[in-house]
Structure formats: structure tokens, C-alpha cells
């Protein structure tokens, strides 16, 4: 099969062998969960419950008031103990709903629903919105918004993203191997809503088994309109814009979104969540994460409740065999380093890594030697070296002209830099400064 690729990119060691053959295990529901009222890209939700109120598993506990927002559901049955700010893996501290589990066990509150073929596109969209589904690939963009493209920009191509290019992470790979039919049914629902002409599934060629299983299921289910494309294993292949470039050779315009060029990309995990919402009436209160890294005793692919704390997961995975130097939510390239174990799992959390000193590179950054490697690997083809130099000197006027806002923060430049410069960090500063001046100038 011909493999598809995008310009630029890097080849970090994959570390996927550590977890790729570990079947997904369900972690028992924790005694306590902490559910932040903002877990997605967009506006926060307003709580629907009060302290001391009893809640059931799957009950909506926070309501999305704005369009770009997504409702949040209880991930265990129990009592709301308090609503107050708590550690948030992305935002530092943020208001959260604390639920203490009770002995009644998980009693699920299932809404009535109809089989998908009898539902209209609008009804399906509503169902997905009610189930609180967001993009599970990492950015956590509300799914129903993506499924409502503007009328003047029809979607002709639907892409299911099974690239999973971040090192260590294997949760999407496991999903494709364990639930291919459910994923494909989820994909069919998406297709029914947006009615595209073409449907592609993109999988990196280091996941041969996933490709085989998905292909087989596609054949068995008689889905002739779905085409599977094999992607070259290269980071960041799973980035939306890189995926579209590699698969269709189309470029998302700078500052635009995939629907500007008639594309819609959804992650395999999201497709599964959509399937579960539509066929089983299950809101998004749990997800699959990869737990890995040299410090954890038993690496795993786990199905965990949203709001479970990292400390619970560490306990379930047998604790540490050595003290981790860094705890990362997400993958090692784009994930966020955490300062505590008391941090909850969010809808967008794809993994937790407990990295040891050997796995990290803690060398101090040096001066730029202008080797040009960052420019070569940059998947959006901006010039990280010069952008970072401008940011270092706080010359925001120069930085602005070097397109910092196009940066997708994939980290390829920092990864490849021989003098270990914190290029992404500097570019983020330039982004902030540029966004500010653009706002000021109207």
C-alpha cells in the first residue's frame, strides 16, 4: 500500500511496544471524583447540582449554556460534596464538582433513545450534544459544533483519525483492535449527519494490526464507501492539518479550519463515544487512557472515569518502581507536565506518563547555532529559529511577521534542536504577544 506523508516532521522513538499489546482494562470506579466544569475548548458549564445532592452515574451535572461548550455528566453515583476550585491539568486551578461515591454502586441513568437509522441528522446532533461528547484526540473541541458546519461550507470529505502519532500512547490503537465495529458504526453516524462524498480512515503504518482489523471489519460490514489510507509513521501525522495534507494534499488555509476546504476530521475515540451515545444512550463519563513511562510499575491501557485522580490510577497500576521526574498528561511531545498527583482525568486526557530521568532530556538550552533543523522539521513551515530569537529579545514587532499564530505547538522544533532550545515555549510567548496586538489594533 502506498503510504501518505506530509512535509517536515520528526521521528522520535515510539515507545509503543510498552503498552500496545496490553488489552484495555476497566479501572473500578473510584471512591471520589473531581469533575472540573471546563474540560473542553470553549465556554465553561454551569453546575446543575448543589452540595449534598445525590447524583447517579451518567446524570448531567453541569449544563452547557453557550454553543461552543459541552455538558458534563456524573462519572460515579454518589453525593456531591462540594463545588470549589481544584487542580486542573491544563488551567492550573478551576471550579470543579466533587462527588463522593456511595455504597449503592453505579446506577446508570439511561435516557430513552431510538436506533440511529430512525433519527434525523438534527436529532443525532442533539443526542451527541446532550451526551457531552468532545474530540477525544486531545483538543477536546465539542463534537456537535464540528458536526454543524456552516451551510455555505459543505463537507465533501470525512476523515477518521487513527494516526496516534504521539510516542508512548496506544489507547487509539487498542480501540481500533478491540472495537473496530463500534468505531465504524460511530463513523457511519457522523457520515449520516454531514453526508460527505468520501470517507477515509488514516492509520500510521506502525499499526499494521489495527490496519488489518479495521480493513477486515470494513469488508465484513460491507462499507464500500470507506477507504483506508496507510500513513507514514512520522510525528505529527495525527495533527489535523498534517493529516489532511498527507491524505488529500489539501492545505487548510492559515488561520482557518478544515471545513474551509470541505474536510472534517474526527478521532477514532470520538467515533466510539458517538456510537455509545447513540446506540447505548451513554453519555461521555469515561474514556480510554494509556498509562506508561519508566516509573510506573504496571503500564496499562485503562478505561477510567472522568474526574478520577492520577493518584488513584497510580495506585491501581501498582505504584512506582522509581520516583518519576515528570508526570505528563498527554503524550511526551505535546503533553503538559503536572505538579501534583491530585489532578483529575478530563475528557481530553489521552494518557498519563510517569517519566524517569533516563527518558527525559534535562540538558540546559544553549544559543541558536542556526543549523536550520527546526525549519526543516516544522510541519507548518514557519521559521522557529528566527521566531524564537525575536521572542527572546522581546522584539514582538519582528516576531509578528514570522507567523507565530500558525504554530500548532507540536514540539518538533524543540525536539530536534541540537542546543536544546525551548523553541515552543518562546513561540508561545510570541503567540500571546501577537494575539494581544492584533486585538488592540482591532
Amino acid at each position: 500500500m502506498l503510504t501518505k506523508k506530509f512535509p517536515g516532521g520528526v521521528h522520535p522513538p515510539a515507545y509503543k511496544h510498552l503498552t500496545r499489546d496490553l488489552p484495555i482494562k476497566s479501572m473500578p470506579s473510584p471512591k471520589k471524583v473531581v469533575i472540573p466544569v471546563l474540560q473542553h475548548t470553549g465556554a465553561p458549564c454551569s453546575p446543575l447540582v448543589k452540595p449534598q445532592e445525590k447524583v447517579k452515574l451518567g446524570q448531567k451535572i453541569a449544563q452547557a449554556d453557550k454553543l461552543i461548550s459541552s455538558s458534563i455528566h456524573a462519572s460515579i453515583s454518589g453525593t456531591v460534596s462540594r463545588i470549589e476550585p481544584f487542580n486542573h491539568p491544563v488551567l492550573g486551578r478551576y471550579p470543579a464538582i466533587f462527588i463522593e461515591g456511595d455504597s449503592s454502586g453505579d446506577v446508570e441513568e439511561k435516557p430513552k433513545h431510538l436506533p440511529s437509522r430512525e433519527l434525523s441528522a438534527d436529532e443525532l446532533r442533539k443526542l451527541i450534544q446532550e451526551a457531552g461528547i468532545v474530540g477525544l484526540g486531545g483538543a477536546a473541541f465539542p463534537a456537535h459544533v464540528k458536526l454543524s458546519p456552516p451551510r455555505e461550507k459543505p463537507i465533501d470529505t470525512l476523515i477518521l483519525n487513527g494516526a496516534e502519532c504521539e510516542p508512548y500512547l496506544t489507547c487509539d490503537e487498542r480501540l481500533m483492535r478491540e472495537s473496530p465495529r463500534e468505531i465504524l458504526k460511530g463513523l457511519e453516524i457522523i457520515a449520516k449527519i454531514i453526508n460527505p462524498q468520501k470517507i477515509f480512515i488514516g492509520i500510521e503504518n506502525n499499526k499494521k494490526e489495527s490496519i488489518r482489523i479495521i480493513e477486515e471489519s470494513v469488508r465484513q460490514m460491507g462499507l464500500r464507501n470507506i477507504k483506508i489510507l496507510c500513513l507514514k509513521t512520522k510525528y505529527p501525522q495525527g495533527g489535523e492539518k498534517q493529516l489532511i495534507k498527507a491524505m488529500l494534499n489539501r492545505e487548510v488555509p492559515s488561520g482557518g479550519l478544515p471545513f474551509d476546504i470541505g474536510c472534517l476530521v474526527h478521532n477514532v475515540g470520538t467515533a466510539l463515544a458517538i456510537y455509545e451515545a447513540v446506540y447505548e444512550g451513554k453519555p461521555l463519563y469515561e474514556r480510554i487512557i494509556t498509562v506508561a513511562g519508566g516509573a510506573i510499575k504496571r503500564p496499562a491501557n485503562l478505561k477510567v472515569r472522568i474526574g478520577a485522580l492520577i493518584s488513584d490510577i497510580v495506585e491501581f497500576c501498582g505504584g512506582f518502581i522509581e520516583e518519576p521526574q515528570k508526570i505528563i498528561i498527554g503524550g511526551p511531545m505535546m503533553g503538559l507536565a503536572q505538579f501534583s498527583l491530585d489532578v483529575p482525568i478530563l475528557k481530553g486526557t489521552s494518557g498519563i506518563l510517569f517519566l524517569t530521568e533516563d527518558e527525559l532530556n534535562l540538558e540546559e538550552g544553549g544559543p541558536c547555532i542556526r543549523c536550520g533543523r527546526c525549519i526543516e522539521v516544522c510541519p507548518v513551515k514557519i521559521m522557529p529559529a528566527q521566531l524564537a530569537l525575536a521572542a527572546e529579545k522581546e522584539r514582538w514587532d519582528i516576531a509578528r511577521d514570522l507567523d507565530p499564530l500558525d504554530c500548532i505547538e507540536c514540539g518538533a522544533c524543540s525536539y530536534i534542536c541540537p542546543t536544546r532550545r525551548d523553541l515552543v515555549h518562546l513561540i508561545k510567548l510570541a503567540k500571546l504577544a501577537t494575539a494581544k496586538t492584533t486585538k488592540q489594533n482591532g
Partner: protein
């Protein structure tokens, strides 16, 4: 769990570090040095040693004075020391490489802010300084040690330019280094061996050296003969310091353009300038000045060779 490190992503880094690349360049320069010592004898080794030691010492002392982190052994000062020596005749008095290496590091590199900030290739800056200050020492050459005639000779380019009554060496002799010249420029074969290693490792790109040599060869073929398209291009590219310059000095990261497009422009510029200096200039050789001039043009080349960002739509 109170000692967790919190820093910006990414959390993993590629293996190739700055000093790893620099030391690879040092390794790639070794065959050329061995050939130089073999051809010219121990005097060449002395020149290399003095140049390298002075470069390292100067770098260390200045970093100490500037209260900067000591990075003397990251390989970069070592490369400067080696390259400067390679650009000298084996017969120079030993204070000459010392003065040159001091100038290269102190003025050529550290005065601009150290590694990464210098505009000119430090080794070439050192050489230019020596050539301006002590021209007689810089233009006295000796033959390979097994050739019995005269201790002093001229480089093949000078023989041609000044129409000296000596035989010019054959292409084979030029390739193997059997001729008068600088320590590191004579044995093309050794230079190419080192360059091939760096190209295979991906530590240098082909864009500058190939366009440099190609442009120089092409322009000499067209204009250096009696009548158009009759120039001896092979002689032209095999003589002087063209290969040493193209593969080891025009590929210096710091002082050359960032993008491939820029590097091609840089190479073409070097080739044309080398030809112009050799044909019309006062010196028989023009490689080092052509690189220095293009070093000065690098910021402006960078400005006009920005990458085309993804998703750039025409309005």
C-alpha cells in the same frame, strides 16, 4: 512527590546535540589533517597543534572573563583551530597560527557574542587577518616533502596566474594532494572522504557545497579559457581551497543561510565570487574571501528566502 519537574513541552529530545555534531565535524576533518602531515611533514602537525591549542585557550579564557558557561570542549573552538591551520602553509613560523587562532576566536567569534552570534566564519576571519598583516608569510609555499626541488614553490593557481616558469601538476596529483598549498586544502580525496561522512550523517547539506563547486566550475569553463567554453574547469575546481571551503567552511551553520533555498543562493554567490577574484582579482585564490563576503550577505539572504508556510492562500 514534591520534586516533580514542570516545564514546557516537548519532554523528549533528539539524540543529536550540538557537541555531538561538532565532534563529528572534527572527525570528518581528521583524514585531511593526516594527509597534510603526510604530505608536508611534521611542520604541518606543529602548525595544527599550535592553532588548536591557542583556539581552545582563547575560548576558555574569554568565556571565563565574560562569566559565561565554559563550553570550550563542545568542539566548536576546536573546529576553528583546525580549519585555521588547514588554511595556512605548513612553513609558517609558529607564532603565526597562534596569532591567527587568537584573532579568530577573540575577534571573529567571542567579540560578537560567542557561538551562534558571529557573522563571519571565525577561521576565515583569522586567515584574512593574517593575510592582511603578514602577506609574505602567508604566500610562501613548499612542495610535498618527497619532491627534491626547491624548498619554496608556488601554488598551482599562482603558477598559472603569474605565468611562472614551473610545471602545473596533473589532475591526479591535484586530487591526491601532490602540490604546493595550504595544509588542509591539497588532498581533495581526504576532504571528500570527510565530507561524504558528514553528508551521510545529515550534518551538512549538499545545497551549498555542490552549487559552490558547480558554479565555480561552470564559470571557469565558460570564461577562463582562450575563447568561450574552453576553460580548464577541472583544474580550476581542483586547485586552491575550493573543496575545503565548499564542504567545511561554506557549510558552517552559524554564518550561512538557514533555508535550503538560501543555501543554494549562498553557494552560487560563493562560486561566482571565487571565479571573479581568481580571474580579475589581485590574488590568485578567492575562496576564503568569497565565503567571507557571502557570510556578510547571509542576513539579507535569510530575509528573502523565508519558507512558504502551510496554508498560505492567495487573496
Amino acid at each position: 512527590m514534591d520534586r516533580l519537574i514542570v516545564s514546557s513541552s516537548p519532554h523528549i529530545k533528539a539524540k543529536d546535540s550540538c557537541s555531538r555534531i561538532m565532534w563529528a565535524v572534527v572527525a570528518a576533518l581528521i583524514p585531511t589533517g593526516v594527509a597534510g602531515v603526510f604530505i608536508f611533514g611534521l611542520s604541518a602537525l606543529k602548525v595544527i597543534t599550535v592553532s588548536v591549542l591557542t583556539a581552545l585557550l582563547t575560548e576558555g579564557i574569554i568565556q571565563k572573563l565574560r562569566r559565561k558557561k565554559l563550553t570550550t570542549l563542545d568542539g566548536s573552538a576546536l573546529i576553528t583551530g583546525i580549519l585555521l591551520a588547514y588554511n595556512l602553509s605548513p612553513d609558517v613560523p609558529l607564532w603565526l597560527p597562534a596569532a591567527g587562532a587568537f584573532f579568530a576566536i577573540a575577534i571573529g567569534k567571542q567579540a560578537f557574542g560567542g557561538l551562534g552570534y558571529n557573522i563571519f566564519n571565525p577561521a576565515l576571519a583569522g586567515r584574512a587577518f593574517l593575510l592582511a598583516s603578514w602577506p609574505t608569510h602567508m604566500t610562501r609555499w613548499s612542495n610535498p616533502r618527497w619532491q627534491v626541488d626547491a624548498l619554496t614553490t608556488a601554488t598551482p593557481l599562482a603558477i598559472l596566474k603569474e605565468k611562472l616558469p614551473q610545471n602545473v601538476p596533473s589532475y591526479w596529483q591535484l586530487l591526491m594532494g601532490e602540490r604546493g598549498g595550504c595544509i588542509g586544502e591539497v588532498c581533495i580525496l581526504a576532504i571528500l572522504a570527510g565530507a561524504l561522512f558528514l553528508l551521510c550523517k545529515g550534518y551538512i547539506r549538499w545545497h551549498t557545497p555542490f552549487t559552490f563547486v558547480f558554479t565555480a566550475g561552470l564559470s571557469s569553463w565558460v570564461f577562463m579559457g582562450e575563447g568561450l567554453f574552453k576553460g580548464d574547469w577541472l583544474f580550476f575546481i581542483l586547485t586552491g581551497g575550493l573543496f575545503l571551503g565548499a564542504f567545511f567552511m561554506a557549510t558552517d551553520y552559524v554564518t550561512t543561510p538557514l533555508t535550503k533555498k538560501g543555501q543554494i543562493i549562498f553557494g552560487i554567490g560563493c562560486g561566482v565570487l571565487t571565479f571573479l577574484i581568481r580571474k580579475f582579482g589581485g590574488y590568485p585564490e578567492g575562496v576564503s574571501y568569497s565565503i567571507l563576503i557571502m557570510n556578510a550577505a547571509t542576513p539579507i539572504i535569510d530575509r528573502y528566502t523565508k519558507t512558504r508556510k502551510l496554508g498560505l492562500v492567495k487573496h
